[in-house]
């Protein structure tokens, strides 16, 4: 009898409470607001610190564009990972799905001369199929999503190697780069706005529609959702399939950015993407995976990395920052919740 706890609660978000004895009833108003705002405030602080340390460079348009635009693949993949997590699942195959979409575009466009638009559409279709496959195994066959998507993800990676013949395929039609990475709006690559759009859409649906409320229950207490007549399985299917589609879009952005696709591509973004959604779950709606929090987490991490790079820090400094930021953000938001 699996009870209703899940990812964010036990392993992840700030709600992962310990054993009995840590009361949660009495969170003060101030504490709650402090917790909600902790990450945005940290982002602001980071911004100010870098702006003071290196005002002319950090505040340059080029840098702002870099911060907002350079992490679009991560942003998109995090949005993909967000959906199954919101409904209490986890999908570790999304890196593989994105990679498969990317290699499909490259193979179709470069090796078979398929027009790039069509190739992208096929890639998105592949993403949906992969998502449906995950749903089939996890939801229909009722297995654990962690191990199952680890398995399907490895399988998808095998397919990538097969399709790509283990090498990098370059020379994808430059129109794609034009429409993702090169063209910019207000000085920021358009792909950032694609991510923003999807983020806002997820946030709106989750917060302002009945479907969002139902998904919340599926994520928080699945049995309750089922016994309230919610078609939990259908919502979980939807989350997996949509996650596959968005992961495929991350693959499209990857191809757009690099003009190429290789055996390892989008999958390297998977753990950072999970870091972002878990970090985001400490903020805005603490204890729940949420879209705005995810977006802020991505930008927070991107700002830190870009700032350190501008200051000429070594590559290890970025990793130390990344790790320390996660640890501190989670610890502080945990602490704020207590006071």
């Amino acid at each position: 009898m699996s009870s209703s706890t899940e990812v964010v609660k036990r392993q992840g978000g700030p709600d992962a409470r310990g054993p009995a004895g840590n009361g949660s009833g009495g969170v003060t108003w101030l504490g709650r607001w402090a917790e909600r705002a902790a990450l945005p405030v940290a982002w602001l602080v980071l911004f100010v610190v870098f702006a003071v340390l290196s005002p002319d460079r950090f505040l340059s348009m080029g840098n702002v564009s870099n911060i907002l635009g350079s992490q679009s693949i991560l942003f998109m993949l995090a949005l993909a990972a967000l959906l199954p997590s919101m409904v209490g699942d986890i999908d570790l195959s999304l890196g593989g799905v994105g990679g498969l979409a990317a290699i499909a575009i490259a193979v179709l466009n470069v090796n078979h001369g398929v027009p790039i638009t069509l190739a992208c559409l096929v890639a998105v279709g592949i993403g949906a199929v992969c998502g449906a496959l995950n749903a089939l195994f996890v939801v229909r066959f009722n297995t654990g999503p962690f191990i199952m998507t680890l398995g399907t993800g490895t399988f998808f990676t095998g397919l990538i190697f097969w399709v790509a013949n283990s090498t990098t395929i370059v020379g994808v039609a430059p129109e794609l780069s034009e429409w993702t990475y090169l063209r910019s709006l207000l000085g920021v690559p358009v792909q950032f706005f694609y991510c923003l759009l999807i983020m806002l859409a997820i946030w709106y649906v989750a917060t302002y529609t009945p479907l969002g409320v139902r998904a919340l229950f599926v994520g928080q207490s699945r049995e309750v959702a089922v016994l309230s007549g919610i078609k939990a399985d259908r919502i979980r299917w939807g989350a997996f399939v949509l996650a596959g589609v968005i992961a495929a879009l991350a693959g499209v952005l990857y191809v757009g950015t690099t003009g190429s696709a290789g055996p390892t591509s989008v999958d390297t973004f998977l753990l950072p993407a999970y870091a972002a959604i878990f970090l985001g779950a400490t903020s805005i709606q603490p204890g729940r995976f949420n879209a705005l929090g995810t977006g802020i987490a991505v930008l927070f991490l991107a700002t830190g990395v870009a700032g350190l790079q501008l200051l000429g820090a070594q590559d290890y400094a970025q990793q130390l920052f990344y790790g320390a930021a996660l640890v501190l953000a989670v610890t502080i938001s945990r602490y704020l919740r207590r006071t």
Binding site: R57, S60, G62, N63, S65, N66, G69, S70, Q71, L74, S166, T167, T168, I169, V170, G171, P174, S177, Y181, L182, S184, P189, Y254, T257, T258, G259, S260, G262, P263, T264, S265, V266, T268, F269, P272, A302, V305, A306, Q309, L310, G312, Q314, D315, Q318
Partner: protein, 360 residues
């Protein structure tokens, strides 16, 4: 973009130096000719033996095809059981390949594209105990001492490639002082010498030029490289030359240059088909890419391997290398199959060194 080459001639580098660099560049752009690096020897004893050929990573097209070529060449001299070991790169995978070779009684192992034998010292030791000859192909710069762990090695002119790159960058800058960025991946040993070479060359030729470097580990290319280059270009918009010690960095560096709208170009080492091809597209800000021909390197490596398996002394590490060719947008038109601008002199050349081929 305002091309540095079209600007007024600068004074940072003297005109005669520029002229001299241009000659060097022109020489580097020529098609290389084969020359024997050692005496001919009998390969009759190789018949019935077998080798295993393992690339540093099958994900690198050039190394992958080179490793497969080595197998084909070995088969052509009677080592018909030879096999290729496909892998995703990294010590864990290499250990598996070495284990397989040792356990299945192979006579020789080709480590293709510079798998550092020191990073597999116990396997080298075990191979030695098993009487198996290991030859590392395209391992280090010719200036470096040979590795004591293996039976033989072939090298590359990594540092020279960087020298040519610096020359091209200075010529492109038309004598103006420029800043340069070197992108290293230090877990790959030649990377360190290449970075130093770029710094030394700039120090020698252009005192006013600045060189900075960033290190990006190979597994982080997809996630970090574009952003790191963009940040570097924000930090120093005077960078005009970006040296990639490894041309697999290219797909991640180009978009960063394009998006930052800085008129910088890449000066790469590698010669990998995938990336040299990109030069034909004028919209790609690529200066030069210098590198070997992987078929040629397969022959050079096979030659060395045959020598040690046949009990011959190996060619000294400083002389065992395949020549590089400098690719620029000017001569990239010659980068065409079958031999991608290297001709076929090496095939007949090497075959003439291998005497008594069984069945021939």
């Amino acid at each position: 973009a305002n091309d540095a080459a079209s600007s007024e001639p600068g004074t940072a580098v003297s005109a005669e130096t520029i002229a001299q660099l241009k000659t060097e560049i022109a020489a580097g752009q020529e098609q290389p000719q084969w020359a024997a690096q050692g005496p001919a020897f009998s390969v009759a004893g190789l018949a019935g033996k077998k080798i295993l050929s393992m690339p540093v990573s099958s994900q690198l097209a050039g190394c992958d095809s080179m490793a497969r070529d080595v197998v084909e060449i070995a088969k052509s001299v009677g080592m018909t059981e030879s096999t290729y070991f496909q892998n995703d790169g990294g010590p864990a995978a290499w250990v598996q390949g070495m284990n397989l070779a040792i356990n299945q009684g192979f006579d020789g192992v080709a480590l293709v594209c510079g798998i550092d034998p020191a990073a597999l010292a116990p396997q080298m030791e075990a191979a030695k105990q098993a009487g198996m000859k290991v030859v590392d192909m395209h391992l280090a710069d010719v200036s470096e001492a040979a590795s004591p762990l293996i039976a033989g090695q072939t090298n590359g002119q990594f540092n020279d490639a960087m020298r040519k790159g610096v020359a091209a960058a200075l010529v492109d800058a038309n004598g103006n002082a420029i800043d340069a960025l070197v992108i290293t991946s230090n877990e790959n040993p030649p990377s360190i010498g290449m970075e130093q070479t770029v710094k030394d060359e700039f120090a020698r030729l252009c005192k006013e030029c600045g060189v900075e470097s960033i290190n990006v580990p190979i597994p982080s290319y997809a996630t970090d490289l574009s952003g790191a280059v963009r940040s570097a270009l924000v930090r120093n918009p005077d960078i005009r030359a970006i040296f990639t010690v490894y041309d697999a960095q290219t797909p991640f560096v180009l978009p960063a240059i394009k998006a930052s709208r800085v008129p910088a170009k890449t000066y790469a080492f590698g010669g990998d088909e995938q990336f040299v091809k990109l030069m034909a597209d004028a919209s790609n800000p690529m200066g030069t890419d210098m590198g070997p021909n992987f078929s040629w390197m397969a022959y050079t490596g096979a030659d060395q391997l045959f020598r040690v398996v046949a009990g011959q002394p190996p060619i000294p590490a400083a002389q065992a290398y395949s020549p590089y060719r400098l690719w620029t947008p000017a001569n990239v038109g010659e980068f065409t199959p079958p031999n991608f601008g290297f001709g076929d002199s090496f095939v007949d050349g090497y075959r003439s060194l291998w005497l008594d081929v069984p069945g021939a």
